[in-house]
Symmetry: C2
Subunit: 266 residues, 2 copies
């Protein structure tokens, strides 16, 4: 009897793995890793192998999405699959889990930090004031969902977390600059006032890493700022509690004058 | 010069801490832990001390919220504060961080899994289809926010994650049963059809623990089910993608007949 362990690696490097995750990886017969669903800025496979004490084999999108070899192996041996972030944010891992459980394969999970829970906290915004999130996609896969999402959330006073598209296999990662530029282009097409040069936005680079960069300000100003290496993400705040405004001033170095327009009058 | 390290412990026990978090705790002069912002079902302070190799001192709500002794200490020594879940989901830790940064204290952060990112994944629902979340509070702190949130999210086809109130100091934790009963009471007061006995809900107990329990079904049926020890949380799905329906069938053992009403027609 085999098993399949999903082990989250978190957001930065191999030390984002939990102690439980390390146990699962160490006790597995076979250790696989996929790095196409997200990017971990400082991951080093050699250090990972040294930590776990065995070979870590890289698998690609096709291997995971097809899944048949993986599931056959996990019916006989203990397989650990290491993945960036938390294991079940990517739909493809949920699908794999469902297939494994249908076959009666024992599934174990070591959760890890995800950008979804980390982003609100590192900028100091309250989690329950976020509406739905959306992804700004590359122009060849154009979608106005992020534009509509900002409008809907803002109408309810809510913050919006925007993921920025990535194609890890091609080494393409959308930057905060590019994300804002794409939102501005949607604005000129739609003209409904979701974003303007003065709109408060917060760019996040390498969330959860020691060299994380969090910087908020006017959209136009951020659009000319270099946030450095990927991954990046973007937050468009709704109405701010005064404690949130204070946090943004300190953690995202936003000018107090810009914040005052957003603070809820009690 | 001192420092303040926020170290998330995750959702279950001391092994939810990341390897980076363990490093921060081991290298600190003083290690504190608070356990009032959330409950970790299997945390053992003795095992935690053995792992870290030093005494772990429990501090209470007043100590954290007041913060003055903690910040004074962290201006001179390296202090690690261990917290349940991810460090910055609780507003009180964000406030502490802001105060520390204002004083020029070096802040380090080891993120960890949070119920916010774990809950959608373990039931197999897609993260970007969640609207805002809300907390069902105990009746002596009555609020209809969760009721309104379900209505607003469902109108947009979105899922709702509901946190269930807790008062760790009093050992009081709301159960899935109690949460559903309180929603039903709001329904009889408001009568807007947010929840009815047939509404699909998913109860989650001890998310992220090896003895995690995920079970979905009709609200009325779940309301008579014992989910065991805390913590619990509740999801009220909106419209379902067929892959989400399939995941709910396997991961939350929901009857296919109940799911079909919720699946989006493409």
């Amino acid at each position: 009897m085999g098993s399949l362990s999903f082990v989250g690696l978190g957001l930065c490097d191999e030390k984002g793995m939990s102690l439980y995750g390390l146990e699962l990886a160490r006790s597995a017969d076979i250790v696989l890793i996929e790095t196409y669903t997200n990017i971990m800025p400082s991951l080093n496979i050699r250090s990972l192998e040294a930590l776990i004490g065995k070979e870590v084999k890289m698998v690609d999108r096709h291997y995971i999405e097809d899944g048949s070899h993986l599931l056959r192996t996990a019916s006989e041996k203990d397989v650990a699959l290491l993945v960036p972030g938390d294991p079940f944010i990517a739909t493809t891992h949920v699908e794999l889990r469902v297939r494994a459980e249908r076959r009666g394969i024992l599934v174990r999970v070591a959760h890890a930090p995800s950008i979804i829970s980390v982003a609100p906290g590192v900028v100091g915004l309250q989690n329950y004031k976020f509406g739905r999130s959306a992804t700004i996609t590359f122009p060849d896969n154009y979608s106005e969902v992020p534009y509509d999402t900002i409008i809907q959330n803002r109408r309810a006073g809510l913050h919006t977390l925007l993921f920025l598209d990535l194609r890890a296999e091609e080494g393409r990662y959308m930057s905060v600059q590019e994300g804002i530029r794409l939102l501005m282009e949607m604005e000129s097409r739609r003209g409904e006032g979701a974003v303007c040069p003065d709109t408060l936005m917060i760019g996040i680079a390498r969330a959860g890493s020691p060299d994380q960069l969090v910087k908020g300000g006017r959209a136009e100003d951020l659009a000319s700022l270099d946030f450095g290496p990927p991954p990046h993400s973007l937050i468009v705040p709704g109405r701010l509690h005064f404690m949130e405004a204070e946090a943004l001033e300190v953690l995202a170095r936003v000018d107090r004058s810009l914040l005052s327009k957003y603070v809820e009058r009690v």
